[in-house]
């Protein structure tokens, strides 16, 4: 493939993953990092010190046994390495790519104190890829032990990482599982939010197909709370337990003038059109998208980076991230910021929109922004951005994408009687993911607000354990039943 570069980082010796070169990749939607070769993976795995008390594991929300899987890669037992990861993380191909490793596992790796931490995410991705290639070549998914059916039925609402984890865990315990998904494709944010160039959709679909082969039923295009209520699932539909993993949803606006002009998108719509509806392939696909020349993306998280890099690939000449704090506070993954800069995305930090102005057709033409400076630290410990009196900038733009976070989607939460919510309208749960309604569990973004893939999966796993206990002894959060001990 052209545009591929392989560089060996010198000093700390971390093996860099080959990537498509920036000038090549802004012309396509193919994945940017290309994956380690066997050789590169083994070299990188060899860097791990195999710590007795591995700090890295503390940073992983689901406690992947990191040194163990890395040792297996170093020994060339990559299939075993993949299985080891899968013990605690059922979507390693996704997590290896999208976990904020610098704040989690890699952030605590001892090697990071002096040099560069072990590339745990890259190795995780490598192991997952190896196992999936192996399965494809040999036509098997590895050994699957399916226990005898318990005759219990579980409904999972939402096919995002939280729901898929619950489905995978419970099918392997012998329960019948049906996943209800509002969209026409499973995967949640992995399908409609995170772009192809960061997480190829085939990876998500493989995972979903694997679950289907295990016996999980998928009912797509089925909106729970509308076509069927949550209580009906437990009632006339005859399910014994329900897990709600419906994700965050409902995006926020800032409430400033001009936000509803033509050419102003909320990031969810922009990304859904491109990723799920394939608007980048219009008119082969029917869904259109506005292709701006001068694009402003408001916000500094992963969603903002994804929107900006997508706009670049759709041919926008100038793409600027507008963020109210400074570079240091950008909440996006370090790799995304790095890739965005390589792709020529401008960062207008300490800048916050005040108003969008439209042309005579009601299409946006300018963003009027307030210049900010950093003041005293706020509750989060980050220095609070404060307006610099009288300093404004006007930015010409024909496409604005707002990526400033979201709120809880009300369809399920507001229509399920007796379901206790927290002060932000997210679902309240106990430490096992059980809600205030007997027989109903919840986890992922609908409990925490927008968080991460791995946290959603962790929440799914916790809830699945509790659901399993409940199904075995009818008593949530109590003693374990025999077959899981």
């Amino acid at each position: 493939m052209s545009g591929v570069k392989t560089k060996r980082s010198q000093k700390a010796g971390r093996v860099a993953m080959p990537e498509q070169a920036p000038e090549a990749r802004i012309e396509n939607f193919d994945e940017v990092p290309l994956g380690y070769t066997d050789e590169q993976a083994r070299t990188e795995a060899m860097r791990c010190l195999q710590c007795k008390t591995p700090a890295c594991c503390e940073g992983c929300p689901v406690q992947v046994d990191i040194p163990a899987f890395i040792r297996l890669i170093a020994e060339g037992k990559t299939l075993e390495a993949a299985a080891k990861i899968k013990e605690s993380n059922c979507l390693p191909a996704a997590c290896g790519r999208v976990c904020p490793q610098e704040n989690q596992c890699e952030g605590l790796c001892v090697l990071g104190k002096k040099g560069e931490p072990v590339a745990i995410g890259n190795l995780e991705r490598y192991a997952a890829q190896y196992a999936s290639d192996y399965a494809a070549r040999h036509g098997v998914d590895g050994p699957v032990k399916r226990p005898a059916s318990t005759g219990k039925r579980v409904a999972v609402v939402g096919a995002g990482p939280a729901g898929l984890t619950v489905a995978g865990d419970l099918i392997l315990q012998g329960h019948q599982v049906t996943v209800f998904e509002a969209f026409h494709k499973a995967g949640g944010v992995l399908s409609y939010g995170i772009p192809e160039f960061r997480l190829p959709k085939r990876i998500v679909q493989e995972e979903v197909e694997q679950l289907a082969r295990l016996g999980v039923r998928f009912e797509l295009n089925h909106v729970i709370g509308k076509a069927t209520s949550v209580h009906e699932l437990l009632g006339k539909e005859g399910f014994d337990a329900v897990f709600l993993g419906v994700g965050a949803g409902l995006p926020s606006v800032m409430g400033i003038p001009g936000e509803n002009l033509g050419g102003v998108y909320l990031a969810n719509e922009y990304l859904t059109r491109v990723n799920l509806m394939r608007a980048y392939d219009f008119p082969r696909y029917d869904t259109p998208i506005v292709r701006g020349r001068n694009v402003c993306v408001i916000g500094g998280g992963n969603v903002a980076m994804d929107a900006a890099r997508t706009a670049r690939r759709l041919g926008s000449e100038r793409v600027s991230i507008i963020y109210r704090r400074s570079m240091e506070e950008l909440p996006a993954r370090a790799e995304e910021i790095h890739h965005a800069r390589e792709e020529g995305i401008a960062f207008k930090t300490l800048c916050s929109p005040l108003e969008y102005l439209g042309d005579e057709h009601g299409m946006v033409k300018q963003a009027r922004c307030q210049v900010m400076e950093l003041g005293e630290p706020d509750d989060s410990g980050r220095r609070r951005p404060v307006p610099v009196d009288g300093k404004e900038v006007a930015i010409e733009t024909d496409l604005v994408i707002i990526a400033i976070g979201g709120n809880a989607n009300p369809i399920v939460t507001k229509q399920t009687e007796g379901l206790a919510l927290n002060q932000h309208d997210y679902i309240a749960v106990n430490e096992n993911g059980a809600t205030s309604c007997p027989g109903i569990w919840a986890g992922g973004d609908i409990v925490t607000g927008s968080a991460t893939v791995i946290l959603a999966m962790g929440a799914g796993r916790t809830a699945a354990q509790d659901i399993h206990q409940y199904l075995c002894d009818g008593n949530p959060s109590t003693a374990r039943c025999a077959d899981t001990a």
Partner: protein
Amino acid sequence: MSRVLKKTELVPGIWQIEVETPRIAEKALPGHFVVVMADAFSERVPLTIADFDREAGTITLVLMVVGASSLKLSRLREGDDFYAVIGPLGHPSAIRPVERVVMVAGGVGTAPIFPIARAYHEQGVEVVAIQGARSADLLFWTDRLASVSAEHVVATDDGSAGRKGLVTEPLAEVLAADSPKRIGCVYAIGPTPMMKFCAKTTEPFETPTIVSLNSIMVDGTGMCGGCRVTVGEQTLFTCVDGPEFDGHQVDWDSLMSRQKTYHVQEGIAFERMLEAHSNS
């Protein structure tokens, strides 16, 4: 699977489609809509549930061909399956405790207004229906609408049926003649400009006016934010907060400019879709 059971061309370019979809039929109420996809390449298109039959497990859609996606949908044949039908979505119409209600339908808006009119009629409310179209050959469901109305007025742009002129004229007359005041509210469903002018017409009478907005949508479940509209000072989402809103509070100009967002692409897609048909 959601299957096309029956398809009829009511008038040129407007199709009535019976869809077998028992789960949705079971929950459907007047004012609900569905999001449909013809095939895996399709847009997600919102369409109002114009009628439903719980026992047969069917819903009725009435589709006007205006562009590529509606053209594609109109080409589904009896026995074909939709790629997706999702719903019922949105809030159903709130049937208010009024004495008399005016139902103004413009063009294809007759279809969504019919089940609401029927619901009022079944509550014993006196329904005044005003049905408008460009010309006589584009009028449909006049009998159905008349069967649930105490009074039924037809208006066409060219005078080829009923009175000549816009629906706003009979609307103003009905309101002016309503003395003592018995009309509790007005519904206006149809093209955006028609709803806007109906709302302007009722404003001086201070009659609550309900419109059903047809914003551009993607998911239809409150996730994307594409269907947002300005109502009063607030930004609301048509799919989860609507689709019915107070017509006196809607920012019509902003809605209309948002509806034009994809004008150029729509043209391209429509041409391609026509071509695809002539080649097949």
